[in-house]
């Protein structure tokens, strides 16, 4: 049996940053392998070198991002790519806890942030990473930028939230569907009745009126998104344009990343 090698070394020996280029920072722990130097600073969002592609859509509620992603999904399927869709807040291990917290209104800004990070971690570990390794096109409706925008709007520290998601892989294309607040609100008002408690930021006590609270909270989120465009190089789509025009832009951008992507041979 080979000797046990600890990941962590005495502080004096910490030199090189661990290579996370392969997304392996959270991968198998090399207990029996060679000594892995511990990292000296938190490393964030490694660029994965897997054969798959990770395409994410971001934007406030009512920006139309889900519609666009679903149209992209159908298009990619029609071109015989292996496409998998992953939704925010959908981990089978974690969603019951999130549901409990929301239903009983027991989530604080910190636990709201952590339970969503837990959900995202489960999807990353068990679904997104293995699928990227297998060469799939992974489509995510909301990604880490949603957490950055919402959690900071709830008062969490910007740096803390960014560290929290350090294990995430960087998307191939992070689309941001930019829409003015009033447009989003009128779309939501047409589409459904009432605003949800946490989506409207009613936990923050900004206003007793749901719509007013939604307006204030989503306004904060919007300004976080705006600041993230240069910070993370988000690909901005004007979400006030007709759906078809937006979709043509999206497909155009996606297709430039598909040249070497693996196709599924579904047809005989």
């Amino acid at each position: 049996m080979r000797p046990l090698v600890l990941l962590r070394q005495p502080p004096a020996l910490q030199k090189e940053a661990m290579d996370i280029q392969s997304g392996m920072r959270i991968g198998p722990f090399e207990v029996f392998g060679p000594i892995q130097p511990a990292v000296s600073t938190p490393r964030r969002y490694g660029q994965h070198h897997f054969p798959g592609r990770l395409i994410v859509v971001e934007g406030i509620d009512g920006s139309g991002k889900s519609t666009q992603l679903s149209l992209l999904h159908k298009w990619l399927q029609s071109k015989h790519y292996g496409v998998v869709f992953s939704e925010w807040n959908s981990s089978p291990l974690v969603k019951d806890t999130t549901k409990l917290g929301k239903k009983k209104k027991m989530l604080t800004p910190a636990t709201f942030s952590l339970i969503h990070a837990t959900d995202f971690a489960d999807r990353t570990e068990r679904s997104i990473l293995p699928l990227l390794k297998a060469g799939a096109l992974v489509l995510c409706d909301r990604y880490i930028y949603t957490a950055f925008a919402r959690d900071v709007a709830r008062g969490m520290d910007r740096g803390w939230v960014r560290d929290l998601y350090a294990f995430a892989v960087r998307p191939t294309i992070p689309f941001y569907f930019r829409v003015p607040l009033e447009t989003a609100i009128s779309r939501l008002n047409d589409a459904r009745d009432g605003f949800k408690f946490y989506e409207a930021g009613l936990d923050l006590g900004l206003s007793d009126d749901a719509e007013e609270s939604f307006r204030l909270f989503q306004g904060r989120i919007l300004s976080e998104y705006e600041a993230m465009i240069p910070e993370f190089g988000l690909t901005v789509i004007d979400a006030t344009l007709p759906i078809e025009v937006q979709q043509a832009q999206v497909r155009g951008i996606v297709s430039t990343h598909l040249e070497t992507a693996r196709e599924l041979r579904l047809q005989p």
């Binding site: 049996m1 198998p28 938190p42 291990l93 027991m106 604080t108 952590l114 520290d157």
Partner: protein, 306 residues
Amino acid sequence: MRETYGKLLPGMRTADLAGKLIVIEGTDGAGRTTQMNLLKPWLEEQGHAVLDTGMTRSVLAGEGIRRAKEGNNLGRVTQSLFYATDFIDRLENEITPALRAGFVVLTDRYVYSLMARAIVRGMDPHWIRSIYSLALKPDAVFYLRLSIDELIPRVVFSRGFDYWESGMDLFPGHDVYESFRNYQAALLTEFDCLGEEFGFQTIDATQSAESVFAQLKAGISQILEAHPEPQAHAAARAMNRTAASVPLAPSATENQRRRFERELLGAIRAGFTGDLLPVGAVPLHAGANGNGHGNGKGNGHSRHSG
């Protein structure tokens, strides 16, 4: 003034956290539970109100973690974050309000165990420290230390090999004994590193339970002597600032005091802080009982039996 490890939770006030936060750390089999069970009545005998807490006891995430661990398919990052959720829920809803009310908070494991487990699972040490930068610095950490050879019979002979205690998620397919040994040895090494970094007071856990208890009592007494006033008194004041002369601990009988603590704990767990309780609400009366106080209804606390 109590400090955190670097970051403050939104809306967190740290100026008035008058209680004491005492951590018992140690690996599996070090006798933490035994000591917790001895310490609580000892502290109460001395007139201190005690909140005891420990891993996965949060209302929010405790059950979710237990369910997730049943399946053996809980990933390492997910596991670390699930435990962080549990910890922060207890920090915000139990530990902090209890400290504000002047309790001695006795916690079976704290962020150090969570860090050690995450780090031996390959998590970036800076990442896990960043998450727990929200934690309050305790008044003392007592580390019950065992060597790997002493630990094995204690754990294995009493309850056999547990999947997670054996680190089987790290060593799938390995012999369970080898896995247990490797995992627990890695944890012990990590604890030693953390102990230096965070100033643990190490207690040799190979001694008899009585002897460990005696050392813990001595260590804890030192911390509490800084505030000789019985904590229950401070708690009463925190609850009822305009009636600071509520004759509580000295004249109240033991049963009344315990009942009061139970009710205050119920109030804390239901999300109330002392500030919210109405004046005169301290239920000192023999007729009052603790039922119906954990239900989140404010009026449950204002019962008088005049």
